[in-house]
Each structure stands twice: as structure tokens, then as C-alpha cells.
Symmetry: C2
Subunit: 201 residues, 2 copies
DNA sequence: CGAGTCGTTGAACGGAATCAATCGTCGTGG
DNA sequence: CCACGACGATTGATTCCGTTCAACGACTCG
């Protein structure tokens, strides 16, 4: 079954659209949490910065995806939202969302389901992050992200961004990709990575 | 403000109690997801096992905590639940929970808030996992888990379990703890770790 | 046209994993 | 009741591999 999108649920809370240039921040940690968003075009990722300045990518929202729902009940955002491509996002007013939820009880279940999916995907990410070997981590990630029918992963944003999703130094990522391609396990173009299933042991 | 607990919300869905001996599995990945649980006593953790057999700890539920809510809308559990201490858990029937949600719209918001908190804590965990230095990772973890007034972390389960929460080899964990204690940054007993704030730079 | 950044590869370093060994404790069964 | 096995806690030595530093070409954008 396909799921109800955030937009379908809360169109009526949609207040405005925003355009972001690549690298622009939609909000930053600590800002008053006033809206929830969906991506219409481009990519927006949620990042936190560790004390040493390392960026930790929590989630990358692509067209159709919502983000910052977890701030519905929080007065402030707890991470930064950065456009990694030129992007447009739709903004939904938090107060209106809460009112809609109150007036339309049937929408609650859908939002709960959406949050449950989010929890599961965060756990999947956690699982990937605790694979120590760069090679296996990349392979797992690719298998997770690949379109099942074509076994192809589209690269949105830069390759460096993916390296950050994986919490790998970008050099390591380039190197390991090159090695995997030499072994025939993947095929690359500038914007895609195709997994050669038959070559995986 | 304090939050409504899962039990408060769904007592009426509570069907039975279960006792678990240390190391026992309450459910395993792939099992039909029929219940949601809360811990009354002991500790239960959610783990996945990577292909190489490494355990990845997703969440450790302590007395009062609920777990497996993310399986409310999923036919199967997507990880294992293992008691790391002798434990008792309360079981809540999924179908009844869904019915309660339907009949009591005011409880939806509370569950949504609970899931939002869960998302945030998973993100915090993700942040900790992407700290590369074992030392800093442990320090961050301790600061996150410590009771703010006493700056003390209670060790529930074994020390090895904590090492797994941190995705560190247990040897590395022991070693680094010993070093931190030698430096005066922490003080240990067999069941607690106290952080010496003044010694942190 | 120059500055900045991505993509890429090389070399060296450092730190965490791994292998290994010891001690203590707890439970179990003969 | 005690011997034995299992496992947690701990520390040492060694290996491995991902990070870091460095350098270079290509491209984009102002």
C-alpha cells in the first residue's frame, strides 16, 4: 500500500513556498520552530555539527519528503536544515497543523504512521553507521537506497554529500567507490551508481 | 512539563505481563508484530545483527520506557528485543491500542509527541555514533545519560552492553574508561560512573 | 581570468579493532 | 559441596584501515 503524504494530510496548513539556493540554511539549531516543511524540488538535509565542527547528516529530504515534523511539539529546532541543491520547499504552519489534527481525528493515524516510518528509517541509518568497514557500509547504503527494479542510485547533490551521509571522509568514499568499480561490483556515471548484483558475493 | 507515559495512555490495552531472564529474547526480527511493550523492571534493548554478526544496539528501554511502538503500523518487528537484565514487561495489544486511539482522539497528540521525542533521541544517538574519537564519544554519551544533579550514570546491565550502545569494541571502552579515570575526569564504582565536571576542559 | 570547490589519487600517521592472556565470579551438575 | 565451564572485566601487543595531509586537474561562477 502507498502512504498518505504529509502534503495530502495538511494542505490546508500550507502557508507559503520558499526558494533556497544551494548551501542556504532554511533554519538553524535553536531557531523558534514555527513550521514543518516538505521538499517540492531539490534536496534539503538535516545536519548537526559536533564540537570539532564535523557535520553529521541526520536525514536528507527529497521531493515529496517532509521534514522537521519532530519539532511539532518542540519550541526550537534541534538541528540545521541546509539545501544541498537549489530547492523549493512548502511551509506548513505548526499551529494550523495541530488544529487540523484536532479537527480531523482520522488524520492522526496517518501522521503516527509517518512518524513510525521515520523511526524505522533512522534505525536503518544507525545500523549503517555502525558498520565499521567502509566497503560494507557503502554497499549496505547503496542497496538500501537503490531503486529495486533498476538497482541504480541517483546522486542528488554532490558525491561529498553522500560521503557525509555515510559518515566517511570523502577521500575514503572516492577511493572505495573506485575499488568497487574496478572489482565490477558497481558501474558509475556522473550522476548514478548502478549495483551489479551478480558481482556481489 | 512532564509527559504522559505510554502506560497512562493505553492501560486499557494492557493484556498481560511477561518475565524475562537475562539474555532472553522477547521477540525477534521478522516475528509478527502483535504487541507494544513497556518495561516495568530491568532493561530491554532493541538490537539488529549485521551480516558479520555484529550487534547494533538501537535503543535500551528502562523502567517506564515503552518500545516497539514503531511496529504499530508494521506487520513484523524489524529488530530483536533482548533482556539485558532479568526483566518484566507489560504487553499492550496493537489492535486495542489502535481502537483506543480511534475512540479517544485526545490521546493521539500524546502518542505523536512521544514519537517525536523518540525521533529526537535517535538523532542524538546518531550524532554520538558519528564522533570518531572513542574518548569524545564516551564523554558525550556520559554527559547525555548522566543525571544532571549528581552527574552520575548508573550502569544497568553489563559494561559490555554500554560499549555496544556506543558501537565500540569493549576492550576499547574499558581502556578509555581507565584512562579517563586516571586523568581524574570520571570516578567509577562497580555500578556507577560519576563525571567530574571541573576536570573537563 | 582567478578563486573556490569538486573529484581524484598518493603517502604517512594514528587510533581503534583484533588477538590473546589472566583473573574473578557465578551457576550448574555430578 | 566442590570442580568445572562460561562469561565479564581488564590489560598487553600487534595489525589494519580509515583519516589526514598534500597535490593536481577540471569546472563553475563571478
Amino acid at each position: 500500500m502507498s502512504h498518505q503524504s504529509f502534503d495530502e494530510l495538511f494542505v490546508t496548513a500550507r502557508t507559503d513556498l520558499k526558494s533556497l539556493v544551494q548551501g542556504e540554511y532554511l533554519f538553524q539549531k535553536g531557531d523558534a520552530a514555527t513550521h514543518v516543511y516538505t521538499v517540492l524540488d531539490g534536496s534539503v538535509r538535516l545536519v548537526r555539527y559536533s564540537l570539532e565542527g564535523r557535520a553529521v547528516s541526520m536525514y536528507t529530504a527529497r521531493p515529496g519528503d517532509s521534514f522537521a515534523e519532530a519539532s511539532l511539539f518542540s519550541p526550537n529546532y534541534h538541528c540545521d536544515a541546509e539545501a544541498i541543491l537549489p530547492s523549493t520547499v512548502a511551509c506548513y504552519d505548526k499551529e494550523i497543523i495541530l488544529a487540523v489534527l484536532h479537527d480531523h481525528p482520522e488524520k492522526n493515524a496517518a501522521l503516527i504512521a509517518l512518524l513510525c516510518r521515520q523511526v524505522r528509517s533512522l534505525r536503518a541509518l544507525l545500523e549503517i553507521h555502525s558498520i565499521r568497514s567502509a566497503r560494507d557500509r557503502i554497499l549496505h547504503y547503496l542497496l538500501l537506497k537503490a531503486d529495486p527494479s533498476t538497482m541504480t542510485v541517483k546522486i542528488s547533490g554532490t558525491v561529498k554529500d553522500i560521503a557525509q551521509d555515510l559518515a566517511l571522509a570523502h577521500e575514503t568514499f572516492y577511493r572505495t567507490l573506485a575499488q568497487l568499480e574496478k572489482e565490477g561490483k558497481i558501474q558509475r556515471t556522473s550522476s548514478t551508481i548502478k549495483i551489479i548484483k551478480s558481482a556481489l558475493i
